[in-house]
Subunit: 136 residues, 2 copies
């Protein structure tokens, strides 16, 4: 029996910005009190974001599975259920699932004026394989 997810998986995310099967359940929209969105983002094994930046940063709260967070020019950091990642503003990075397991994180994404994210190029299969080649 598959474990029940905390939040419903939501809608498929666009292939222009994500590789593989990724889903978004938008839990909180921007309003007069909350100058951010909160979404539950589910990555099936091997799924990941494109490289991207946030003009006012983002917080990831990993609630299931395991995966990776990598800033450009640094080693990829394994992340797992219970981890909290604070992504600074204007840092090129990606996040996603491990090669063998899914990963679900909540994402709290601040606005700077009307912008939350600037999407860049995909994480290539070659670069992803370098990161995941030593997975058990």
């Amino acid at each position: 029996m598959e474990k029940q997810e905390i939040f419903a998986k939501g809608q498929a995310l666009p292939k222009d910005w994500f590789s593989g099967e990724a889903f978004l359940n938008l839990l909180i929209a921007r309003d007069e009190n909350n100058d951010f969105t909160i979404g539950s983002v589910s990555f099936e094994a091997k799924a990941r974001t494109n490289w991207h930046t946030h003009p006012k940063g983002q917080i990831l709260l990993v609630i299931e599975g395991n995966g990776y967070y990598q800033e450009k020019g640094k080693a990829a950091q394994p992340i797992k259920k219970g981890d909290v990642i604070t992504i600074p503003e204007n840092i090129k990075h990606w996040h996603g699932a491990s090669a063998k397991n899914k990963m679900v994180h909540l994402a709290v994404t601040n606005y700077k004026d009307e912008i939350q994210v600037t999407w860049l190029e995909p994480v290539t299969d070659e670069d992803y394989q370098v990161v995941t080649q030593n997975e058990l």
Copy 2:
């Protein structure tokens, strides 16, 4: 075997503001990008906040168990794992566990200037019993 919590339980919350056994793990502190805190708050069965208000609102994301959210003058609303509650600014309310089960929620609490919360009187045992008397 007790189920593994997603986030560590953290530190006991003060009896001045909480009834029963409640705990806070502060996951995200305020910084230059994030004008809020995020905490994982664990309520053992029967534990609850005092009545209180937030000057710029709060978001609750229930990640385990079940409990209640009540605004003053309204019926208490049962809440459970997977529920999302948007608390408006300056609304007197409380939240906490059910009488028989624990409840864990993430709390995203905005700042208005330097203030996040104004604490008021406890939810009395009598009022809590009225809310929970029909629990199965």
